[in-house]
């Protein structure tokens, strides 16, 4: 029976960092990636930047980001619901994440080019996550990590003492192996419709999965079934508003709909339900994702007029346009009279702020729900619409780990040869909320820790 020192389950950032770290520590490493080579890398495929503390200036960001700032940003986003010790470990260990990646062949995009969003908190990968994956896979191969694509983990056998066996599924057939240590880096269950239906009921059918179709949560379920402790909340998920016409999986960054403040959002009955001007920070993506999840049939329509459309950012699909509101309603299959009344009520209620030239000041009077900013009347033909659905990015349920990234049992004991890194254990740190660039940082920091610790255990 094949017996690697360390088995890495997964193929994204956490998996590669764990594999490289374990191999460098002297262990023989087998990496089992469920996806074929062309779709390797989990949701790292869609990522672009990582959050890192740095107390001196760096060409990779526009200013310093001290430990306290990172901690307080994290606490604010999560309502301080994350494990404090692991959060602190993450923040401190993030300090050398970019150096470690650079040394492993990853390239960053310096801010000096002036082509990046200004961010002192995150470093941007040159070419995004796919480029990082290419570099890390090349490095892992060069170091002698054995990589198997199309190789999923079917099941695990955890005994009283340790993880005993792991079942690898290749070409439709399963076989059991006995790695000395294993690292689970295979993400959450957001691509698993049955799993989503269990927690969201029929609403799950209205969700689109923004990321890899391979995040099916089989390993997560197997771990729970054998007594691993749960963290986070299975009934919540990080959702953003995406174009309803997007593919069911893997739509990534381009499917987002971002310009709600420019228009009005109506549900499938043609009625407004939220203040579209209330959220203008980047957090609005997630706010609208949650709102859409609670809409009838999980769908809503952003209605714009020609003027608003001119200010909209580029979109994946062209907006649905029509020369009259009635024909727009027809194309969207919305009740025309309700939509007309909604728009008429809205337009009648709009009024400028102190400076009529400044769109921010425009708001509605005596309208429920109100629109508190950017409430310009929508009158210029043609009208346009983007249909929107909630796009699931990740789920807030994972396995509990200790500071060595070892998986914990219900009673709090660590399984000595089973480790977890990346989004499968991210809910230890973010049981709710999110800050940009955090997923990669968790993958890098805990991937490295898990790899080193797994190698140490295997070589004992």
């Amino acid at each position: 029976m094949h017996r690697p020192d360390v088995l890495i389950i997964g193929g994204g950032t956490a998996a590669l960092c764990a594999a490289i770290a374990a191999r460098r520590a002297g262990a023989s490493v087998l990496l089992a990636e469920a996806a074929p080579r062309t779709l390797r890398g989990g949701n790292t495929r869609h990522s672009r930047n990582l959050r890192f503390m740095h107390e001196s200036s760096t060409p990779l960001s526009s200013g310093i980001y001290p430990e306290q700032d990172f901690r307080s940003d994290l606490d604010r986003a999560t309502g301080a619901s994350g494990d404090p010790a692991l959060s602190q470990l993450l923040v401190r260990a993030s300090a050398d994440a970019t150096d470690w990646l650079s040394e492993a062949g990853v390239h960053f995009q310096p801010t000096a080019g002036g082509l990046l969003p200004v961010s002192r908190r995150t470093a941007f990968l040159l070419g995004g996550g796919m480029s990082m994956l290419n570099a890390l896979y090349t490095t892992a191969e060069r170091l002698g990590v054995e990589i198997r694509y199309g190789c999923a983990v079917g099941d695990l056998r955890i005994g009283a003492q340790r993880l005993e066996q792991v079942q690898l599924m290749e070409d439709g057939a399963g076989h059991w192996i006995e790695p000395r240590a294993s690292v689970a880096c295979c993400g959450g269950a957001q691509a698993n419709r049955d799993w989503l239906r269990r927690h969201w009921d029929s609403a799950a059918d209205g969700f689109l999965n923004r990321g890899t179709p391979f995040a099916t949560g089989g390993v997560l379920e197997s771990l729970f079934a054998q007594g691993a402790r749960r963290v986070g909340d299975p009934t919540t998920a990080y959702l953003v508003a995406v174009d309803a016409r997007s593919p069911a999986d893997d739509g990534g960054i381009v499917t987002r709909i971002r310009c709600m403040p420019s228009g009005i959002v109506v549900d499938r009955h043609g009625r407004r339900f939220r203040d579209e001007g209330g959220d203008t920070a980047s957090t609005r993506y997630a706010v609208w994702g949650q709102r859409l999840a609670h809409c009838p049939d999980q769908i809503a329509y952003l209605i714009l007029d020609a003027r608003a459309l001119r200010s909209a950012p580029p979109s994946l699909y062209p907006p649905i346009q029509a020369d009259s509101l009635a024909s727009l309603a027809e194309r969207l299959k919305l009740p025309p009279s309700v939509l007309a009344a909604t728009l008429a009520d809205y337009n009648a209620a709009t009024e400028p702020g102190e400076d009529a030239q400044d769109p921010v000041g425009w708001h509605t009077r005596d309208l429920d729900p109100p629109k508190t900013a950017y409430a310009l009347p929508l009158t210029e033909l043609p009208f346009a619409a983007y249909p929107m659905r909630p796009g699931i990015t990740f789920t807030y349920e994972g396995v509990a780990v200790d500071r060595y990234a070892r998986v914990l049992r219900e009673d709090g004991d660590a399984i000595p040869n089973l480790f977890a890194a990346g989004m499968i254990m991210a809910p230890n740190i973010v049981p709710r909320g999110y800050v940009s660039g955090l997923a990669l940082t968790i993958g890098i920091v805990f991937g490295r820790i898990a790899g080193i610790e797994a190698a140490r255990h295997a070589l004992q």
């Binding site: 062309t38 080019g113 040159l126 070419g127 995004g128 796919m130 990534g252 960054i253 580029p314």
Partner: protein, 367 residues
């Protein structure tokens, strides 16, 4: 597919790029595309020629095949670029040389070589072709200088005219924004040509062969282009020697024309062989079959020019000189004739697109 379908595909693909933007650190293309959201035909022609076909954006693409969006920017723009060569060819019917690059290169080379042999035979008795000729003016006993200069200069002048007309039309088509042409922009564009800044993947290099990065394509290009320039300079110096000083070829090994020519020939040989090796090994996914064919055709011709030139240098004192001279002059004649109707035409279009890009960047900085 027709070129209008190629343009529709480019609009679809660049629309996705516009919403994504992850690749904007690799080269100038993606920001240039963002500056022209309408993506009119002229915009697309400009962007297609601004693309240096470095491939990084395919390897970095989360939407590359087998993803359902099937985004392949380098292939899409390469196809479109081939279309712009055809669309701007003058006279129009000679665009068929571009469309059948391998066959046309072969035929033009054979015909040109045949003409040279015929000229030599017409000028000198048949055995002169295989006689040894030594000392000053040896070449011209096989073919007189005037004839040699004329069969070089006339096709070259024709080609310059044809390229000039194509470039003029192209320039009018891509200059869609009222941005001033400045010497600074011109200098920036020249620097971008010398450094091939857009073929560096933002610094670390390009996916020349596979998912690893290298600078092979950039270095091979400059080796080849440098070799061509050195060889051309050698010819100019020799012309100067002949005209101004009355010194007749062949020149000694340590003379400037021979040194420049030999160095140029060696650089061309290495560059062309390296490129051909790269084309054998490279992933064909980021490029288009017609571009691979036209690339290989012109590399073959450049290699033939270099090898016949080097052979002429080595065996110029032997009885083979007459034949080698005919082969070399035939290859050069073919090269001159094909300048506007082969892959070589990319140089002008790309330079103009780099110039527009430099103008726009300077304009943006000044604002």
């Amino acid at each position: 597919m027709h070129s209008s379908e190629h343009r529709d595909e480019a609009r679809r693909v660049l629309g996705i790029c516009d919403a994504c933007g992850y690749c904007n650190g690799f080269c100038d293309l993606f920001e240039a595309a963002r500056r022209r959201p309408a993506l009119g035909d002229g915009d697309l022609a400009h962007l297609a020629n601004l693309c240096h076909a470095c491939r990084n954006c395919l390897y970095a693409c989360q939407y590359a095949p087998p993803h359902v969006f099937a985004v392949n920017v380098p292939r899409t723009l390469t196809t479109l670029r081939q279309d712009t060569y055809v669309e701007h060819a003058w006279p129009k019917w000679l665009a068929l040389l571009l469309e059948h690059s391998r066959l046309s290169t072969l035929i033009v080379t054979l015909v040109a070589t045949g003409i040279m042999i015929a000229l030599i035979l017409a000028y000198a008795p048949p055995d002169a072709l295989f006689d040894r000729h030594l000392g000053a003016g040896a070449f011209y006993r096989v073919l007189p200088w005037g004839a040699m200069a004329a069969i070089g200069a006339i096709p070259l002048a024709w080609s310059c005219l044809a390229i000039g007309i194509g470039l003029h039309r192209y320039w009018r088509r891509i200059r869609t924004a009222p941005v001033p042409l400045t010497t600074r922009a011109l200098a920036d564009a020249m620097r971008d040509v010398v450094l091939l800044r857009n073929l560096r993947g933002g610094g670390p290099g390009c996916n020349d062969l596979d998912d690893r990065l290298s600078h092979a394509r950039r270095r091979l290009h400059q080796t080849l282009a440098g070799g061509v320039l050195l060889s051309f300079t050698a010819t100019l110096v020799a012309t100067l020697y002949h005209h101004t000083f009355g010194w007749e070829a062949p020149y000694p090994i340590l003379s400037l024309p021979v040194m420049l020519g030999a160095l140029g020939g060696i650089a061309m040989t290495l560059g062309a062989l390296g490129f051909l090796w790269l084309k054998q090994r490279e992933d064909p996914e980021p490029t288009a079959p017609e571009a691979r064919r036209s690339g290989a055709a012109i590399l073959g011709l450049l290699l033939w020019v270099a090898l016949t030139g080097l052979a002429l240098l080595i065996w110029r004192a032997s009885a083979a000189m007459g034949l080698l001279l005919a082969l070399h002059l035939g290859s050069v004649l073919a090269l001159f004739l094909l300048l506007p109707y082969s892959k070589l035409v990319h140089a002008g279009y790309r330079f103009l697109s780099l110039l527009i890009e430099a103008m726009e960047q300077q304009h943006k900085r000044a604002k």
